[in-house]
Amino acid sequence: MSTAAAVKGTAPKLKTSAMIASFADPGQKTASAPFGHALVKAAQENDKIVGLTADLGKYTDMHIFAQAFPERFFQMGMAEQLLFGAAAGLAETGLVPFASTYSVFAARRAYDFLCLDSAEPNLNVNIVGGLPGLTTGYGPSHQATEDMAIFRGMPNLTIVDPCDSIDIEQAVPQLAASEGPTYLRLLRGNVPTVLDEYGYTFELGKAKVLRGGNDVVFISSGLMTMRALQAAKALAAHNVDVAVVHTPTIKPFDAATVLAEINTDRLAVTLENHSVIGGLFETVASAVVTAGLGKRVVPVALPDEFLDAGALPTLHERYGLSVQRIVAKVLAELG
């Protein structure tokens, strides 16, 4: 505790820490750089795979691949339009590029290049975006809170929002094998390992029921599936029985599995590390409306605002992504 805090008798303020703060809980099982290692493994089996980055290799775990395959790695400099134009050019010659930068730069800065150079000709270009949603305390310049909203409108693009190291390890070879462009919301560094306890395997385009429950059904993606599972355990102590459905592929969306789970008397809640606009909630809502279910859906999502800078635990609590805030919201809904 700092002197100032001790004098005032208040708790110390948390620090923003590094650009990419970990959202892993203390003592949680993690895997180091799962994307980098998965890409190396996939590249050992598929000699068409190449890697690129825009001066963020070390920060997107691409450096693992660069060390393993220096001749198959291309540093494009801090030039995101070149990064994705060149990725399309590499794909035109039959290669399978994985191109990494932060999600904010991919979605906001280089959209035109992804849309016209890769998506329109349906090339196998794999976009790897770091810092999706609220996974950094650096403020709006680095927080890609609307990346899925931007990317969902791009025809041909597959969007994957992985929960943990298992999802990432299993998704990478499937992204390489799938036709057309993909966008992976990267979790990097020491990434929690969560889904191994649920007999789970990642299948591109599929939602999976991780646990059943009679009172509430959570539909979640990304790191919010980890929080959904934690919240489900916490709610059990309140005698609330919660099912969790993980939907790592946002587009194309597995509406059949999700609608079957929603079309019950249970309270339906979506949970996402993204703005309430244009992400998982609206994907689910449009499927519900299209099917004419007439069912209420409660969103747990980031507000339609530019978010504060600060420490991740502080911000997750402030904007409703923490387990505590999820539990409180569900109990309030159940009255």
Binding site: F74, A79, L82, A91, E92, D112, P121
Partner: protein, 302 residues
């Protein structure tokens, strides 16, 4: 080093032989046919980017009738050189060149810009055989060309990559990102050709956004830079020969800056007030063709 036209030609004579009269005549005839096709396509549409096609016809002829390695019966042939049209609206000229090359049937050109045609107004790879990329959103071509050149080199291909861009595209930051990238990666298999017609959508280039000094810019980015009269076939072929002579898997990328004249070859259009989208009256098309033919026959002495 500042490379004026004269100096480029001087350097050229040291590096490569001057193109023969027969070769110049043969490629000039191809340029004439490309211009003729473009006028016919423009007439079908009643409008179009005819001025740009006429201005760039010599550059397109130099590529398709002289430089590019391709197979007309197999546009996807793996060993082909890649020609990337960054300026999608120049498609009218590119289709004419593809017809000259035998990749698109001449009789198909009349479908230009019509519903269900393989020849849309703005060029797209998904529509047309021989069209490598979807241009049109300007400033994309050179970034894609960098990736293609990297990919071909990595896979051991000796194919070269040509990117056609316009001086208007020098406004786009992405063009300069790519210029740096090509130099950094020493893409000696990449040649950019810039059509400097000094005209953009809103007016003359120097009133829209000054791009000069263009030669010095490319030189300072580390490119082998030549600037020529893009409507002088002898100078164009010499420049392409020089670029080819220094092309290598690992080496300097090269750029040929081509000063061209909008409407070139048709005095009626050369003298008309320059516009990005030139209006031509119904009765003028035949007059344009006659002027084009008269001019061509005049130069060839027929």
């Amino acid at each position: 080093m500042t490379t004026t036209t004269e100096e480029a030609q001087m350097t050229a004579t040291q590096e490569t032989m001057a193109p023969t009269t027969e070769r110049i005549a043969s490629v000039s005839a191809a340029a004439y046919r490309i211009r003729h096709h473009a006028l016919n396509m423009g007439e079908v549409q009643g409008q179009g980017y005819v001025g740009q096609a006429l201005g760039a016809a010599d550059m397109l002829a130099a590529v398709y009738a002289d430089q590019l390695r391709y197979r007309a019966d197999n546009p996807e042939w793996e060993g082909r050189d890649r020609f990337l049209l960054s300026t999608g609206h120049y498609a009218i000229g590119h289709y004419a060149a593809l017809a000259e090359a035998g990749i698109v049937p001449v009789e198909e050109l009349e479908t230009y810009g019509s519903d269900d045609s393989r020849l849309p107004m703005s060029g797209m790879s998904t529509y047309t055989p021989g069209m490598e990329i979807s241009g049109g959103s300007l400033g994309h071509g050179l970034t894609i060309a960098v990736g293609m050149a990297l990919g071909l080199r990595y896979q051991g291909s000796g194919a070269r990559v040509y990117n056609f861009l316009s001086d208007g595209e020098l406004d786009e930051g992405s063009t300069w990102e790519a210029a740096m990238g090509a130099h950094h990666h020493q893409l000696g298999n990449l040649t950019a050709m810039v059509d400097i017609n000094a005209l953009q959508a809103d007016g003359k280039t120097d009133t829209v956004l000054r791009t000069e000094p263009v030669t010095e810019k490319w030189e300072s980015f580390g490119w082998y830079t030549q600037r020529v009269d893009g409507n002088n076939m002898a100078a164009l072929l010499q420049a392409f020969d020089n670029a080819a002579a220094q092309a290598a898997a690992v080496g300097r990328p090269s750029v040929i800056l081509c000063d061209t004249k909008v409407g070139r070859g048709v005095p009626l259009l050369e003298e008309r007030e320059k516009a990005h989208f030139m209006r031509i009256e119904e009765h003028e098309w035949q007059q344009c063709r006659e002027q084009l033919t008269a001019g061509f026959e005049g130069t060839t002495g027929r």
